[in-house]
């Protein structure tokens, strides 16, 4: 594939979205990036969405739909926040603890899946309920508040969030593109039976995937908690909702992956999603309109992906006619 086509395919969606968002804001007389807070909102959204997208994509690409990712973020951030508040530790300690606990809970989630051999959707729903209940019990239902802890609230700055994003992308690229685990992961993705026959062990591979996804969700839980100063409890699958923010960037990432690295695609998908979020903020779009627009964008993109051949065919015919 030529470099020009690669670049066009990779950057088309985020650039078109940026132009569209900028035009909409300009038509309303609003600057997209007027203050540093707008940049912070944008970067924070990239960090949140990219971490959830990585976590979801790792397992979904292998056919494992994991509904428990939100509950892993919830439980790991609750435990790390409780420890940090009790021992009067700082935000870096909380971030590390969140990642460690996230990895442990992800591993447990994966271990249950490979042990009971039930469909991953069912197992992950059960795990989500269990983790939500555990977080509720640990906090007596009150959640955790650290609105008074300026130290923890001060972490969510542009440089800190950028560092987390860069480390996450590098980790994804190195682990999944340059390690034996990553090659085996790809082999299992393209043909599990053949891969297993060649000696690849699918259970350890799945467990590592769940562990990495859990670690990403631990980091996402930390960012979410230190942004608003509270961790609200969720019950009855209330923790599932963060997962939905990853769908659009994941599909965009899949599309971009055809032209470049799919991990870079997920990141650019997160950038696209963050631009749309910033548009909602700058124009103070009501939540009902926001939900309708987000759903329409997702549906339109899926329609395009599923009918790409037909749509391209239409353009090709037109070109030939000309």
């Amino acid at each position: 594939m030529k470099l020009g086509k690669k670049l066009t395919g990779t950057l088309a969606i985020p650039v078109i979205t940026l132009l569209a968002v900028w035009l909409i804001c300009s038509s309303k007389g609003v600057a997209l990036f007027e203050t540093q807070l707008n940049i912070l909102t944008f970067v924070r959204a990239i960090a949140n969405v990219s971490l959830v997208t990585f976590a979801l994509a790792i397992n979904l690409n292998s056919g494992r739909f994991d509904f428990s990712v939100g509950s892993v973020a919830l439980l790991s951030s609750v435990i790390s926040a409780k420890i940090v508040l009790a021992l009067n530790l700082g935000p870096v300690a909380m971030l590390l603890l969140s990642i460690v606990f996230g990895a442990i809970f992800g591993l447990i989630s994966g271990a249950v899946y490979v042990s009971v051999k039930l469909p991953p959707i069912i197992v992950s729903l059960a795990i989500a309920l269990f983790y939500e209940g555990l977080a509720f019990a640990l906090t007596g239902g009150h959640g955790v508040s650290f609105a008074n802890s300026a130290n923890l609230l001060s972490f969510s700055t542009i440089p800190n969030l950028l560092i987390i994003i860069v480390i996450a992308v590098l980790f994804m690229v190195v682990v999944f593109d340059h390690t034996r685990f990553g090659y085996e992961y790809k082999a299992l993705q393209s043909g599990q039976k053949v891969a297993v026959n060649t000696g690849i062990k699918e259970i350890p591979n799945a467990l590592i995937c769940y562990t990495i996804a859990g670690a990403f969700m631990g980091a996402q839980g930390f960012i979410s908690a230190t942004t608003n100063g509270t961790i609200q409890m969720s019950l009855n699958f209330g923790s599932i909702s963060p997962m939905f923010m990853a769908f659009l960037p994941m599909f965009i990432g899949g599309f971009i992956g055809r032209f470049s690295n799919d991990k870079m695609g997920y990141l650019l998908g997160a950038v696209t999603s963050a631009l749309i979020s910033l548009l909602y903020v700058r124009l103070n779009v009501s939540s009902s309109v926001q939900q309708i627009v987000s759903a329409l964008l997702l549906v339109c993109f899926l329609i395009y992906l599923n009918n790409e051949g037909v749509i391209r065919g239409l353009f090709v015919r037109k070109e030939r006619a000309v």
Partner: protein
């Protein structure tokens, strides 16, 4: 023989007189049992509790009062529903309570109260509304139902005044630039709409202006509904609503909007119709004021102590005590009805704290599992009481008034 006959007749007359007297005294005892007998603790009474929220601080405090205080004091068992999202879930939960031999249901869920009342009436189960009231039309329709006990909670005017008083508190201090969190206003939740209307009317009065052409309670409620419950920032005479956010999306855009309002350098005061501590506490600037309508928790006290929060209108957990004793009284044969024989509808207000000391004092009482605001001794005085006694008791809801009642 004659003497014997006379004696026998006399004896029969005496027995008859005593029997009638005994019957008479039994009936009068039934009418006035509050002072004579009090609640019957010999048999356990199961009470179902319908809840639409199980995670908010307010919901947890209410549950703790029932399960950790009332259940320890009375021979009752509370059976809680799951988090009920809609009318179908409420109907299913009521069926479950009836199947489990619940004699009464106390409802904190409001997806379809008329359906709840009808279902309980049909099944002969007592029903009461806690921390809320029916609309006037609903009350007129159901007040005569035998098993509808009544409702105790902030009525919509009380909600309106809670918002009005909070905004006025800051307006009286000379603040003119406000940011507002509208909570569930866009979801057409009346409680939040009325609180928001109260805040806006207070701003209209102080600023000599109008908001969407409205400047009093009636017109403001109409204007809010007319706008599809979607509010916008606006200049209101000399006062300005600089920023407005609502809903509970908990996504990046929602947090971004909250941060944008709180980081606007012109915003002096952040007002919340509810959950202000969750929405704004993480973003609030040091020089800004924050007022909220919620409940008293250890976290809210800590926020008041640190100066993050400086006005809190909160429901107190024991406020659901009177509705419990009215339900128990009805189940045990002593329903409390109005003079016309109808179910009661009594409004109850908030405890307002404007200092950390006040909030701490309120929280200590509110969270006590041995001496809460309404103790058993206080509630027992309402068992089988007259409507006027119940009304007088409930309407003395301020912290100071309750302390007086406890003496």
């Amino acid at each position: 023989m004659k003497t014997l006959k006379r004696l026998t007749a006399l004896l029969l007359v005496v027995v008859m007189v005593f029997s009638l007297a005994a019957c008479g005294s039994k009936e009068s005892g039934g009418n006035d049992s509050a002072q004579t007998s009090g609640p019957d603790d010999s048999q356990n009474v199961k009470i179902g509790v319908l809840v639409s929220d199980v995670t908010s601080a307010e919901a947890l405090a209410f549950r703790a009062y029932y399960e950790e205080y009332i259940q320890e004091q009375y021979n009752v068992t509370f059976m809680y529903s799951d988090e009920l999202a809609d009318a179908a879930a409420e109907a299913s939960a009521i069926d479950n309570f009836i199947a489990n031999n619940c004699k009464a249901i106390i409802s904190f869920a409001s997806a379809d109260r008329p359906a709840q009342i009808e279902q309980c009436e049909q099944n002969g189960v007592y029903y009461a509304v806690a921390t809320g009231t029916l609309t006037e039309e609903q009350y007129e329709q159901y007040k005569g139902y035998e098993h509808y006990v009544g409702a105790i909670g902030p009525d919509l005017y009380t909600e309106y005044m809670a918002g009005y008083n909070m905004a006025k508190y800051y307006l009286d201090q000379g603040y003119t630039k406000f940011g507002m969190f509208g909570g569930a206003t866009p979801y057409y939740t009346e409680m939040h709409i009325y609180r928001a209307a109260g805040m806006l009317v207070a701003m209209c009065e102080a600023g000599n202006g109008t908001y969407m052409g409205a400047n009093d309670m009636g017109s403001m409620i109409g204007a809010i509904y007319g706008a599809g419950c979607q509010l916008e920032p606006a200049v209101i005479g000399d006062v300005e609503l600089v920023g407005y956010v609502a809903g509970y999306d908990f996504d990046d855009a929602w947090f971004g909007k909250l941060a944008a309002v709180a980081n606007d350098p012109s915003v002096e005061v952040l007002l919340a119709v509810g959950s202000g501590q969750t929405a704004f506490a993480g973003f609030k600037q040091a020089n800004q004021k924050l007022g909220d309508i919620d409940c008293y928790t250890a976290d809210s006290v800590a926020l008041m102590e640190s100066g993050t929060l400086d006005y809190l209108a909160g429901k107190f957990s024991a406020s659901i005590g009177p509705v419990f004793i009215a339900v128990l009284s009805a189940v045990q044969g002593h329903p409390i009805r109005t003079e016309e024989g109808n179910a009661f509808a009594i409004s109850q207000g908030y405890w307002v704290a404007t200092s950390a000391e006040q909030a701490k004092e309120y929280f200590e009482v509110d969270s006590s599992k041995t001496e809460p605001a309404y103790t058993r001794a206080m509630l027992d005085t309402l068992y089988g009481a007259s409507y006027s006694d119940l009304e007088a008791f409930v309407q003395k809801y301020s912290f100071e008034e309750i302390k007086e009642l406890a003496k």
